[in-house]
C-alpha cells in the first residue's frame, strides 16, 4: 500500500495541529501562565498595598517597565518570611549574586516600538494592557497584544495613530 495507516495517522495529527493552531490557539484571548523560577504572587503583594511602581520603578523613565533588582526583593524579604520555600530560593539567588531568570509573559515583536514611559505619563493604568495582575497569583496575558488592541485605544484617547512614527520604525 502506498499510504500505510500510520502515515495517515501522522497526516491527520499534523492537520489537526494546524487546524487547532489556526482556529483556536492563535486567537485565544490569553496564553497559559508560564511557570516562574520563583512562584511569585502579585496578588499577595497587591493585597499588602504595594504599588506596581514600587517594584517596576523604571516604568515612567524608560521604555521598559523594569524588573526589581534582587536587592530590592531582599530589602523586605531579608526579614519577611525568610524561611518560606520560595523566599529561600530568592535568598539563594542573592547569595550567589545571580539574577532571577523570570520568564517573559508580555511580549511584542521587535518591529513594534512600545515605550512604557509615554503611556504612563499619559495616565494609562497598568491594568489596561496587563490585566488585573493584582488578583493573579501567576501572571498571564489577558489582553491579546495585537494591532487592533493598540489602535482601538490610541483612537479612543486621541493618541497618535501614525503607523510609522508612532510604532513601526
Amino acid at each position: 500500500m502506498f499510504f500505510s495507516l500510520r502515515h495517515l495517522f501522522y497526516l491527520a495529527a499534523v492537520l489537526l495541529g494546524v487546524f487547532l493552531w489556526i482556529f483556536y490557539f492563535q486567537d485565544m484571548p490569553y496564553r497559559s501562565a508560564p511557570r516562574q523560577p520563583i512562584s511569585f504572587s502579585h496578588r499577595i503583594h497587591y493585597e499588602r498595598q504595594i504599588a506596581c511602581i514600587f517594584c517596576h520603578a523604571d516604568v515612567a523613565k524608560s521604555a521598559y517597565a523594569g524588573m526589581p533588582p534582587v536587592l530590592k526583593c531582599m530589602g523586605c524579604h531579608r526579614e519577611v518570611i525568610p524561611y518560606y520555600p520560595d523566599v529561600a530560593k530568592l535568598h539563594r539567588y542573592w547569595r550567589e549574586q545571580k539574577p532571577i531568570p523570570w520568564v517573559r509573559v508580555f511580549w511584542i515583536p521587535q518591529y513594534v516600538h512600545f515605550p512604557h514611559q509615554p503611556h504612563i505619563l499619559a495616565g494609562v493604568q497598568c491594568g489596561v494592557c496587563h490585566g488585573d495582575v493584582g488578583h493573579e497569583n501567576r501572571v498571564f496575558e489577558v489582553v491579546n497584544f495585537n494591532m487592533g488592541t493598540c489602535i482601538t485605544c490610541h483612537r479612543a484617547y486621541g493618541a497618535r495613530t501614525d503607523c510609522f512614527q508612532a510604532c513601526h520604525h
Partner: protein
C-alpha cells in the same frame, strides 16, 4: 592573487545566497553561525527570560542608553568620544563635544570603533604556538607562566638590554608605566611604531627650528593653504580637527572670506579634491617646485629666505627651466607666490605620505623656510604644541630592530598593536627577521600579519573596554573608560604588566609603584590577579560581586594605578573624598585641559592673541645623517628601477595604514573618489589605459626591482599619465574575515631603503607595467561621475554666492493638495561648500540604523544597503573639469523625504506613505517586497534586502535596539533617524516644553566634521534649517519633477568655474 578577490566573509555570503547547500563541515559551521545570528533576529514568537539587576545602579536605568566619555584610539589623533551604551552594549560612538580637538565630531574610522570591539576575529582567550606552529588556545595562568619563564631565561642569560617592546603610540600614564616597567626589568625604552610617523616632517623641523616634532597646524587661521599632497582631511596627523578648522577657514558656509587652497601632487587625493587649484607635479620634483615657489615668494614679499645649511642655496637654474622640470608653468607659480606674499598668515604643508621620495626632506626644509619668512610659525604652525606623533619611532629605528633580529640578537619581542609586517615594504623581509626571534609575545586584539609570528598571545582589552588616557598634545589629555565588561576572555595589557612586576618581587615592583607613591605589595596568584577591577564602573548585566579595593591590592590593576596617578595630579594633598570627586568629574568630562594646550585648540582665538611670530628666536641647527655626515639633499629625487611609471601609494580615509581593513563598514563604504568597494586597484589615466590596452578591470602586472603584484585598473583622469596610484590598506593576507585576500598591498613594490630622515619612501621606485590580459569585475558603486547637465551637484562663484544671481528655478505649482503637516515638517540642508566627501556621515548611518553589509558579490550587482551615499561628480556640462581645477563635488544623498513622493503612490500595501510630520515612511513589517517604490524613486535611495542580512557574532551585539532589524524581502530607506526624532519628542513632552531647534541630531549631522549637514523643523521659520533653505545658494534636487524634497542643497562655491572652450575664464582675485 585570485581573479575574484573574495574575503572569507564573501564565501559566507555566497553560501547564504545559494540557500546554504551543499555544505562541507567547515562551511556548515560557518553557515551555522550565520543562521544563528539570522534566527535570533528573525523575530519569531519566543518568550525568553527577563534578567533583573542583582544590585541596582543609580547611574543606570535599563532601556535608557548611557553615554560614557572616552577616547577614540583608532588612530593616533586622539579625538574625544562619547560611546552610547544600550543595556551594557556599546552601540554607537559619537564625538565628545567637550573635547577641544574634534568638538563632537568623528571620522568614519572612529565611527567603526564598535566594529573593532565586536570584531568576529578577535582572540577569544590567550593563545600559544604548539609544536606544529599553530596558534592554539590556552588559559591565562598557563600563558602568564610561559611568559614569566621566558623573561626569567632572558634575565639568566643577562640579555635584558636586547629585549624589544614594539607597540603602537602611547602617551600619558600608560607611556609612563611602560617606561617604568621596562626599566624595572632592565629592558630598553619602548619603540612606538606608527606607519605614518612623519619622519621627513620631524627631521625638517629639527634641522630648521631645532625641534624634532610634528607641530600642530591651525587651518582656521590660514588665509591660504598650499599642500604638497598632505592628506590632512583624511589621515594626516589629526584629520577631524583639521577638517573642522579647514571648513571654518575655507568653506563659504562658515566664512565669507574663504582661504585659497592649492594642492600639489601627481594625483588628486580626497583632500586635493577640495582644493581650489591642483598642480599636477612631476613626481620627484617637489623640492624643485618648493624652491621655485620660495624664490618667487621672497621676491614678491621683498624678504630674504634663510635656508638651513646643506640645502642648495637656490634653484641653480632659471624659473622657466625649473618649470620644464616640474611641469608647472612659471606664471602659475608666480601667481601663487603673489597670493602667498599678500595673504598672511598662510600655511605651506609638508609633503604627504603618498608623495614621499628622496627629495621630500629637501622640500620640507624649503617649505619651513618659506613658512618662517611669511610669519606662519607661531601663527598657523605651532611648534611648541607638538603632536603626540612626535614620540613615534622612526622607521629607521624599527628597521634596526629587525636588522638585529636577523643576527639573532633579539631574545624577546613584545608586540603591542603594531603590524610592521604589513606596513613595512615587503622587500624589507620583516617576516624573516621575526622568525629568528626565539620568543615573541603579542598583546594583539586579533590575528594579523605580525601576530601570526607570535609564540604567545595575551589578548588586550579593546580601548572601549579599557581604562587609560591619551594626550594628543601637551596639556590636553583625554581619559579612556570602558563602555562594557570585556566581550572575550581578555585582560588589559597594563594589568598584565603590573601583575608580572608584582610577581617579580619588590625590587622590580618598587620603582613602578613609587611613581604613584605606593609601597610594593604582595603578589597575587595568576588566576585572580589582573581581572575584575576595570569593570567596576562599567554598566554590567548582571553585576559582578561588588568589588571593594583597599589601595595596595588595587595596584594589581591599571584602573587603580590610573586613578591614583590622576588623583595625585588633580588634587595631590586633598582628602580622599575630594580626590575621588575630582576623578569622577574628570571621567564625566572625558578630557583634561590645561592652559598649556589652549593656543593649539581654542576654536576662535581673538586676533593677535599669540603675540608676535616667534620665528626669529628659533635656533637653526645643521643637518646630520645617521653617521654624522650630512646626507645629500637633492633638489630632484632619483628613482630606482627601469620602468616607465612613477608610483604613488596613497592612504585612504577608510583604512588609515591598513589597521581598519577588517571591518565590514570600511570595506563596503565606497572610497570617496573611485567609489570602489571590497578591492584595491591601480588608478591610471585613461590615456595610459589606451596605451596599455587596459580598460576598467583589466589586470595589470606591476614590477619593480623589489617585487611585483597584480592590480585591476581603475581609470580616472585625475592622475598624471606617467603615474600609477595604488591605495594603501588593502591586501592583507592574514587579517580576519573581512580583509583577508581582498586586493593587494602596494608595499610589495616599495623600496626597502629609507630616506635621509629615516622614513619609508613609498614613491621611490619606477614601475614596469604589463597587461596580463585578464580582467575582473570591479565593484563600483557609482559608475557615472559626469553629470551630463543633470544639475545634481551644482556650484557657483564665490563672488556671486550671496546674490540672487545664483538662485535656482523654483518648483512649478501643483494643483494637488499637499500632505498636511500640522506640527512639524522635518527637513535638511546640506552645504556642498563644506562637504569634503569624508564618508563620516555614511559610517554613522551604518552604526545608528543597523544597515546591513552585503559583501562584494552583492555590491557587484549594486545591491549595497547604504541609506546615505556620497555621490562624487567632476564638474558639470557647462563647467568641465580640468587638471588645474578638477572641480570635484561631493553630494551626500539621503532620502529626500519628498513632499510629493513618487514612492508613496505605487505601494500596493500602504507600506510607503507620508507621515504627518512630512517623512516618507517605510513600514518594514507591512512591506511585501514588490520594489515598485524603488523603481519609482528618482533619487534611488531605497534599498531592498535581497538576502537575509548577516552579522557574524559578536557583531550582532552592536545593533541599535531602537531600530528594527530588517530581513529578507523588505525595502528599507533613510528615515531621518526617526528613532531620534521620536525620542526627542518624547523627552520634550515629558518635560512639558516645546522641541528646541537643534535638539534632534540625525546621526549624519551629528558626526559631520565640517557641519555641512543641518537638520530641523521647516515649519519653524526661525530654525537654522529654515534659514538655510532661504539662502540664495539653495536648490532642490530634480525640482523639475515636482517632488518637493525636504532636503535643500547649498551650491558648492568656487573661486573659478571652468568655462567652455572659447569662453573667458574669470580670474580669481589675488
Amino acid at each position: 592573487m585570485p581573479d575574484d578577490p573574495r574575503s572569507p566573509f564573501d564565501e559566507l555570503v555566497q553560501i547564504r545566497n545559494a540557500g546554504g547547500a551543499p555544505l562541507d563541515r567547515r562551511d556548515f559551521l560557518k553557515a551555522g553561525g550565520a543562521a544563528a545570528a539570522g534566527g535570533a533576529l528573525a523575530g519569531c514568537r519566543t518568550t525568553g527570560h527577563i534578567l533583573p539587576l542583582v544590585v541596582p545602579d543609580n547611574r543606570y536605568i535599563p532601556g535608557v542608553p548611557q553615554h560614557y566619555a572616552t577616547v577614540c584610539r583608532e588612530c593616533p589623533a586622539g579625538c574625544g568620544m562619547h560611546i552610547r551604551v544600550n543595556d551594557a552594549r556599546p552601540t554607537k560612538p559619537e564625538g565628545n563635544p567637550r573635547h577641544p580637538l574634534n568638538r563632537g565630531k568623528l571620522c568614519m574610522r572612529g565611527q567603526s570603533a564598535v566594529q573593532g570591539l565586536y570584531n568576529p576575529d578577535r582572540f577569544p582567550q590567550p593563545m600559544r604556538r604548539d609544536q606544529h606552529g599553530r596558534l592554539v588556545v590556552t588559559t591565562w595562568p598557563e600563558a602568564l607562566a610561559m611568559l614569566q619563564q621566558q623573561m626569567r631565561q632572558v634575565a639568566l642569560a643577562g640579555r635584558q638590554a636586547d629585549v624589544v617592546w614594539l607597540g603602537r603610540l602611547e602617551t600619558g600614564t600608560l607611556d609612563q608605566l611602560l617606561r617604568d616597567w621596562l626599566a624595572a626589568f632592565g629592558y630598553p625604552a619602548p619603540l612606538y611604531y606608527e606607519a605614518f610617523a612623519y619622519e621627513a616632517v620631524r627631521e625638517a623641523n629639527r634641522v630648521s627650528f631645532g625641534q624634532d616634532v610634528v607641530p600642530y597646524y591651525r587651518f582656521d587661521r590660514a588665509k591660504m593653504v598650499v599642500g604638497f599632497g598632505a592628506e590632512f582631511l583624511q589621515t594626516w596627523v589629526s584629520n577631524v580637527q583639521f577638517a573642522t578648522d579647514w571648513a571654518m577657514g575655507h568653506s563659504y558656509g562658515h566664512t565669507h572670506d574663504p582661504a585659497y587652497f592649492i594642492n600639489i601632487g601627481p594625483r588628486v587625493t580626497m583632500t586635493g579634491a577640495n582644493a581650489d587649484e591642483h598642480w599636477q607635479l612631476r613626481p620627484g620634483t617637489e623640492a624643485l617646485l618648493a624652491m621655485a615657489l620660495a624664490e618667487r615668494v621672497a621676491f614678491h614679499a621683498g624678504q630674504t629666505l634663510h635656508l638651513p645649511a646643506g640645502v642648495p642655496p637656490g634653484l641653480g637654474m632659471s624659473q622657466s627651466a625649473a618649470a620644464e622640470r616640474t611641469e608647472i608653468p612659471a606664471d602659475v607659480v608666480d601667481t601663487a607666490a603673489q597670493r602667498l606674499a599678500r595673504n598672511r598668515p598662510s600655511l605651506l604643508l609638508p609633503v604627504g605620505y603618498g608623495n614621499l621620495n628622496a627629495a621630500a626632506l629637501t622640500a620640507n626644509l624649503v617649505l619651513n623656510a618659506v613658512n618662517a619668512m611669511l610669519g606662519n610659525i607661531g601663527a598657523t604652525i605651532l611648534l611648541h604644541h607638538p603632536h603626540a606623533l612626535s614620540g613615534a619611532a622612526r622607521a629607521r629605528d624599527v628597521a634596526a630592530v629587525f636588522e638585529r633580529a636577523h643576527g639573532g640578537q633579539v631574545p624577546l619581542l613584545f608586540l603591542h598593536h603594531a603590524n610592521p609586517v604589513f606596513n613595512f615594504p615587503a622587500a624589507a623581509t620583516v617576516p624573516a627577521a621575526l622568525s629568528k626571534i626565539p620568543f615573541i609575545v603579542s598583546f594583539g586584539w586579533w590575528r594579523d600579519e605580525t601576530t601570526k609570528y607570535a609564540h604567545l598571545v595575551l589578548p588586550d582589552n579593546y580601548p572601549l573596554e579599557s581604562w587609560g588616557d591619551y594626550a594628543p598634545i601637551p596639556g590636553l589629555t583625554g581619559i579612556l573608560q570602558p563602555g562594557r565588561r570585556p566581550v572575550f576572555d581578555t585582560r588589559p595589557t597594563p594589568d598584565v604588566l603590573l601583575w608580572l612586576a608584582a610577581q617579580a618581587g619588590p625590587a622590580v615592583q618598587g620603582p613602578i609603584l613609587h611613581r604613584i607613591e605606593m609601597p610594593p605589595v604582595a603578589a597575587l596568584p595568576a588566576d585572580v590577579a589582573p581581572v575584575g577591577s576595570n569593570w567596576q564602573q562599567s554598566p554590567s548585566l548582571p553585576n559582578p560581586t561588588p568589588l571593594t579595593y583597599d589601595p595596595p591590592a588595587a595596584i594589581h590593576s591599571f584602573d587603580a594605578y590610573l586613578r591614583r596617578a590622576w588623583q595625585l595630579r588633580l588634587a595631590p594633598n586633598a582628602p580622599p573624598a575630594e580626590q575621588a570627586a575630582a576623578w569622577r568629574n574628570l571621567l564625566m568630562a572625558g578630557v583634561h585641559l590645561t592652559t598649556e594646550a589652549e593656543p593649539a585648540v581654542a576654536t576662535e582665538p581673538p586676533p593677535g592673541r599669540l603675540g608676535p611670530p616667534i620665528n626669529e628666536t628659533l635656533p637653526t641647527t645643521t643637518l646630520e645623517g645617521p653617521n654624522g655626515d650630512p646626507p645629500p639633499l637633492p633638489l630632484e629625487a632619483e628613482f630606482e628601477g627601469s620602468g616607465d611609471f612613477y608610483l604613488t601609494s596613497f592612504p585612504v580615509v577608510q583604512f588609515f595604514d591598513g589597521r581598519q581593513a577588517n571591518r565590514s563598514w570600511m570595506q563596503e563604504i565606497a572610497d570617496p573618489l573611485s567609489k570602489l568597494v571590497w578591492d584595491s586597484w591601480v588608478q591610471i589615466h585613461p590615456d595610459t589605459g589606451w596605451r596599455l590596452h587596459a580598460a576598467e578591470g583589466s589586470i595589470l602586472r606591476l614590477e619593480t626591482p623589489y617585487g611585483h603584484g597584480e592590480w585591476p585598473v581603475h581609470l580616472d583622469s585625475f592622475i598624471r599619465p606617467d603615474t600609477l596610484g595604488i591605495p594603501i590598506g588593502q591586501g592583507h593576507r592574514d587579517f580576519g574575515m573581512f580583509a583577508t585576500d581582498v586586493g593587494e598591498a602596494p608595499q610589495r613594490l616599495w623600496t626597502p631603503r629609507l630616506d635621509a630622515a629615516g622614513g619609508p619612501i613609498p614613491m621611490g621606485v619606477k614601475v614596469k607595467v604589463t597587461n596580463t590580459g585578464k580582467t575582473r569585475p570591479m565593484a563600483n558603486l557609482q559608475l557615472e561621475h559626469w553629470q551630463r547637465d543633470k544639475r545634481i551637484a551644482q556650484a557657483c562663484l564665490i563672488s556671486q554666492a550671496g546674490t540672487p544671481a545664483v538662485r535656482d528655478k523654483e518648483p512649478r505649482a501643483t494643483f494637488y493638495a499637499f500632505h498636511p503637516t500640522p506640527v512639524h515638517r522635518w527637513g535638511m540642508a546640506v552645504d556642498l561648500s563644506s562637504c569634503i566627501g569624508c564618508n563620516a556621515c555614511q559610517a554613522a548611518c551604518y552604526a545608528e540604523n543597523n544597515v546591513p553589509v552585503m559583501g562584494r558579490s552583492s555590491c557587484l550587482s549594486y545591491r549595497e544597503m547604504t541609506w546615505l551615499r556620497i555621490e562624487t561628480y567632476a564638474g558639470d556640462a557647462w563647467h568641465p573639469p580640468t587638471t588645474m581645477n578638477p572641480d570635484i563635488r561631493f553630494l551626500p544623498m539621503p532620502c529626500q523625504q519628498c513632499g510629493n513622493a513618487p514612492c508613496e503612490y505605487v505601494c500596493p500595501v500602504f507600506a510607503a506613505y507620508h507621515t504627518d510630520e512630512g517623512l516618507n515612511a517605510q513600514i518594514y513589517n507591512r512591506c511585501i517586497g514588490t520594489r515598485y517604490c524603488s523603481n519609482n524613486c528618482i533619487y534611488k535611495v531605497r534599498r531592498f534586502n535581497w538576502y537575509t542580512p548577516m552579522w557574524p557574532k559578536p557583531l550582532d551585539q552592536q545593533l541599535n535596539p531602537a531600530v528594527t532589524v530588517r530581513s529578507k524581502g523588505v525595502m528599507e530607506k533613510c528615515t531621518f533617524c526617526v528613532q531620534r526624532i521620536e525620542q526627542a519628542e518624547l523627552t520634550a513632552k515629558a518635560q512639558d516644553r516645546p522641541l528646541r531647534d537643534g535638539e534632534i541630531q540625525t546621526a549624519c549631522m551629528q558626526t559631520c566634521p565640517t557641519e555641512a549637514i543641518v537638520f530641523g523643523d521647516l515649519k519653524d521659520p526661525n530654525s537654522r534649517v529654515s534659514q538655510l533653505h532661504q539662502q540664495d545658494r539653495g536648490y532642490r534636487l530634480f525640482w523639475e519633477e515636482n517632488t518637493f524634497p525636504a532636503v535643500t542643497y547649498l551650491k558648492r562655491t568656487k573661486f573659478v568655474l571652468n568655462g567652455l572652450a572659447g569662453q573667458p575664464n574669470p580670474e580669481p582675485p589675488l
